[in-house]
Symmetry: C2
Subunit: 211 residues, 2 copies
DNA sequence: AAACCCTTGTGCAAACAATCACATAATAAA
DNA sequence: TTTATTATGTGATTGTTTGCACAAGGGTTT
């Protein structure tokens, strides 16, 4: 079980499997074969088995996987058997949608603090319960509330500076919604959620098709 | 120039280059070397050159790339030298943030129609100008407004059905925000914007680090 | 016009990822 | 107990992507 040599794409797929299994559990499906799970996630059946094989033997030959058991194991692998505490920075249009989204909480991700610099916003209380802090309070609040993950929803121009502040406050992992590539020091992680890149992909394929 | 064998990761990076170049243009930088551009986008310099080499020779040896010229070429490759007309389906929390986001328009992506099934929403006018249509009107509106791209922001349970309706209305490309894997027929494209998968990645890495 | 930068464009090898194909093991039926 | 059936786990294979290293070529200086 050498964690270092696990393909990063495997982790992404585990997340998909987890979601599919959650759905199957709702539907009271007890057992699932790699074929069916693969189909549900749009991947190759052998891929599913190999992905899982990195971490152990979870299936029964001739039978398949027990949904509940496999889900439990995948969640353990991904670290979803606990709650993750997030801070949102920048409560604009997108930020509001994010904190209002109750699915995150269901999956174990919780916005426990919200920050902005706009004096008209700071101090206000959100419908979802959080009070908006000023960025000056970031270092103490991050420490007090034991925040694990920082979420950047500021304008692009402020994103790099915001990342620096989050890191200085002791945060190791960042989810970035701003359309810029954020430079992170060694040992810190950033994941970008990049709407425009996805649209550009669609545009490219539509353009090619037409040729 | 065999389009079929171009790595999909290359297209994604072209999108990043395009954005970086746009920024450089704002700063009145005329010439950029692959080193600098690579650093800005967090990739290897050889990667930049190789990505571009798939489509032609855009640089000048010993000098670098002319920012304006390269940007123009990349935009042409990606199909960003035109406007793309999008339909949004599901105007909830996320949908509202999307239509309010004026960056899309600046980049050539425009929400020209918005759909929902909620009778309380249908017929209302959005601050961004669009009137909310009922889903029943999808087929005619898609045709009349010549829509290229469908954007799904409905609950996950409705996403697959929505995709089917979009396809039946003649749409070839879909951007999906719902946390499900959508099954598409041959020749159609879907791109998923998947917040939770990204968070799961962060959770996994944080969990590993701690070991 | 020669010598010297500098940075591109690219052949090639290495690393990484996906897929095939089958031995293996569990279960059910005969 | 034997045979048939089924679907996992995995070695081998194929395919894809990345990165090194350097020849090629444009520009500049002497
Ligand atoms: N809205 C969308 O649908 C959408 C889509 C794609 C990408 N994005 C990106 O997400 C980010 C946020 O988008 P938005 O539409 O919510 O923008 P917005 O302008 O509505 O909100 C930005 C918020 O950040 C705050 N802010 C500004 N500087 C700050 C700083 N230094 N520290 C803390 N807070 C700061 C502002 O006060 C504001 O409340 C942008 O980078 C945008 O490009 C948004
Ligand atoms: N809000 C977020 O930050 C966020 C984050 C990640 C993912 N998502 C996903 O994006 C999607 C939308 O999220 P949201 O927060 O805006 O949800 P929401 O409940 O606020 O909005 C959903 C909208 O879709 C409409 N709708 C429902 N069924 C429909 C149908 N069949 N056809 C057309 N419209 C229909 C509803 O009337 C509503 O207006 C969900 O799938 C959600 O999981 C949202």
């Amino acid at each position: 079980m050498k964690f270092s040599k696990i393909p990063s794409a495997t982790i992404t797929r585990l997340s998909l499997y987890s979601r599919a299994l959650e759905e199957l559990l709702q539907e009271h499906v007890n057992i699932i074969a790699s074929d069916k799970l693969a189909q549900k996630c749009g991947v190759n059946p052998a891929q599913v088995r190999k992905d899982l094989a990195y971490f152990g033997e979870f299936g029964v030959r001739g039978v398949g996987y027990f949904v509940k058991e496999l889900l439990f194991e995948i969640k353990k692998i991904l670290g979803l058997n606990r709650r993750w505490r997030m801070a949102l920075v920048g409560i604009g249009n997108l930020g509001l949608a994010l904190v209002a989204h109750d699915n995150f909480v269901k999956q174990g991700y919780e916005f426990v603090a919200v920050f902005d610099v706009d004096p008209k916003k700071v101090g206000r209380r959100l419908p979802s319960g959080q009070t908006i802090y000023h960025m000056d309070e970031l270092p103490t609040v991050v420490k007090d509330k034991k925040i694990d993950i920082g979420v950047i929803a500021t304008p692009a121009s402020q994103a790099q500076a915001t990342a620096r502040l989050l890191i200085e406050a002791g945060i190791k992992a960042i989810l970035n919604f701003a359309p810029v590539q954020i430079q992170m020091p060694e040992g810190y992680i950033v994941e970008n959620v990049d709407f425009t890149v996805k649209l550009d992909n669609l545009a490219y394929h539509l353009t090619m098709e037409a040729v």
